[in-house]
């Protein structure tokens, strides 16, 4: 006896419809899904190979150097210690597999999210249509996405990537839309008033001014990817997620924490790195020695706006002196 029967409401077979829809997809579009599968799988494998080829210590030092360039020596030192800890816990290979999955998911998610965000910012209808879809993608429990992607792509790293993209995409779209909408209205109007085409306005004004917000979105996408990449271990994606899954299966407390701590280190490293890039703090690192940055800093050394003498001498030509007399008092 089910409640809907008691209430006199017929059961709506949403579950059944969705499964038969996915059945239809698998039978009719298997070629497409196979192609996606091999592209995504190939990309992940390629990156894994790239990350696992060099000596782990060498790579850890390289990551630390990147940190030094974009942020500073403190961050570089912390990163190096954290990455060495991952190596010493024997989680390096798993960490690199997870990193590969995160990189692929994030790149694909951003490639989809930013154009969608731009569209939503420009067309009210697109924004209204996207909003419920974004809500659905973001609030649906993450595990639920694993079921359909497994039916479409089988098990392994590819469904992990696809589920991760779905889960991590929304903040990229939302923050891109928000960033563009929040660009000073008057500056956009100025671009229009000088005859800029929509494309010139977008690339010359809206995107550059929205960049900090868009980069915050990229950062969020990355973080969500990392959290989802661990969940993806459940469907057979290798990496730290796989380690966590097997730790749960075997109740291996030590392995679970080792993998978990590795995730945390990776997360902090990626978060601080992208945040530094996004907030334009890059010049606190070695980047400040690049020529353009030097020019900006030199300019900053000029007197602050308040100290600037306001009455800049204006070149007066004799024929204009009359006009000055007219209004001067």
């Amino acid at each position: 006896m089910t409640l809907p029967m008691d209430a006199g409401i017929p059961k709506i077979e949403i579950g059944k419809w969705i499964s038969s829809f996915f059945d239809w997809l698998t039978t009719n579009l298997s070629g497409f899904f196979d192609a996606v599968s091999s592209i995504v799988g190939g990309a992940v494998d390629g990156i894994i190979w790239l990350l696992q080829a060099p000596n782990p210590i060498l790579l850890a030092v390289l990551f630390a150097l990147i940190g030094l360039v974009v942020k500073g020596w403190r961050f570089a030192l912390g990163s190096l210690l954290g990455l060495l800890l991952i190596i010493s816990m024997d989680q390096w290979d798993a960490a690199m597999q997870t990193l590969a999955l995160v990189v692929v998911s994030t790149v694909v998610a951003i490639i989809i999210a930013i154009p969608l965000g731009i569209l939503a910012a420009r067309k009210r209808a697109a924004s209204a249509a996207l909003r419920p879809i974004m809500d659905l993608m973001q609030t649906m429990p993450a595990f639920v996405w694993l079921v359909p992607v497994v039916t479409l792509f089988g098990i392994g790293v590819v469904p992990g990537v696809i589920a991760t993209i779905i889960f991590a995409l929304p903040p990229g779209v939302r923050l891109t839309e928000l960033g563009i909408r929040n660009v000073d209205h008057e500056i956009v109007e100025a671009a229009n008033a000088f005859g800029a085409t929509p494309r010139q306005t977008l690339f010359g004004v809206q995107l550059p001014l929205a960049l900090p917000t868009i980069m915050a979105g990229v950062n969020q996408v990355l973080m969500l990817s990392l959290s989802m990449a661990v969940v993806a271990g459940l469907v057979g994606a290798e990496g730290l997620g796989g380690q966590v899954t097997s730790a749960i299966a075997t109740l291996d407390l030590g392995l679970g924490f080792e993998a978990g701590i590795s995730v945390v280190i990776l997360a902090i490293f990626l978060d601080r790195l992208t945040a530094a890039i996004g907030q334009g703090k890059a010049r606190h690192g070695l980047l400040r020695y690049l020529p353009r940055k030097r020019r900006e800093e030199a300019a900053e050394e000029q007197p602050a706006a308040d100290e600037v003498v306001e009455d800049i001498p204006v070149e007066e030509s004799p024929e204009t002196l009359d006009s000055v007399a007219r209004i001067h008092s």
Binding site: D184, I187, A193, F194, G195, V314, S323, A325, S329
Partner: protein, 421 residues
Amino acid sequence: MKAIVANNTYKVFGKRPELGVARLREGATREELRKEGITAAVIDASFEVDEGEIFVVMGLSGSGKSTLIRMVNGLWEPTAGELRLYGDDIVTMNAQQLRQTRREKVSMVFQHFALLPHSTVGENAAYGLMIRGIDKDERERKAKEALRLVGLKGWEDSFPGQLSGGMRQRVGLARALAAGTNIMLMDEAFSALDPLIKREMQDQLVELQNKLGKTILFITHDLNEAMRLGDHIAMMRDGRIVQIGTAQQILNNPANDFVAQFVLDVDRSRVLTAGAVMAPPVALVGSDQGPLAVHKLMREHQTSRLFVVDRDNRLRGAVDEEAVVAAATAGAQTLDGIVDDKVVSVPESAPLTNLLPLSAANPKALAVVDKDKRVRGVLARVTVLQALAQRMTNTQTDADGSAQPVPADTVDAALTKGGAR
């Protein structure tokens, strides 16, 4: 050809703007429409802007002036009516033609400057040229020239964030100048600046306009600013233009109570000029006339002092009754030796506020001259005071000196006070 012509232009916001226009034409008020969810921003606006003049649209917030200026370059499309720039109707243009018009004919300066913060001052000034696809060397050259004109020479490589508000607006002005358009729209361009900088920018704008002959449509909510800048001023209220005229016309003949209320607050001494309040000279003395003839003139006109001019009406000085009488008694045939050549002369365009210290220092009347030094009128102390006094009484007496004389020491006292300001 007129630079800008608006004919019965409407801008109505809401779901059915055309219906709003129809209702307005039938005589519905703005408030009635607002209850129906229709906002009438600009109602039946008609005006003409001559090439090379500063036309000021003055109104309080919500009067529709910002919408009006945005219709001129098509940022808002008029709901009804015409809006022509050099004869081409903005209303009928497609997007491509509109862009072309904005690039070539009309540029804009914004209240909050609207500069690109991540571009240098030079790049900002060159923005309009960059949009048009003009090559880098030429646009840098033109931007540099425009920045020099506004007094920002050498700031090309700074960023807007490093500049003060006044300097940022100079960049905004340079951007509009560099675009090389004949028409410039200025939307509350100086309203965000503090008073001293504002004055300086106003002076500079008039100077630039005299030099370059741009047609400027200037929006402001500050009537003093409107009066200082405007060759013509349109007063807007609740979406309608209630009066168009020169500063002095609006000051002296406000079309309705609304305008009159505004005018009350205007500092007349800055708006009224010597030319507007002077009295015509009762008589002029030729430098070749003899003392007897001059004395006769003085008696006829009951005056004790007359200006002496040469054949071309150029000011040579003045003669006083005492000296004339003395010369006539001594039998002199000419005015040689008795012409007082220390007469203070002022240009017709001088505002009264500049004349107060002069009047205070010189008990005798000032001569008003044109730019060739020809005598155009006389400014007695009484005349100056009466022109100012209208502010207090708001009466319509003529400021030509025909009113009752005021005791001399009262005048002296008042002027000394005024001059010491």
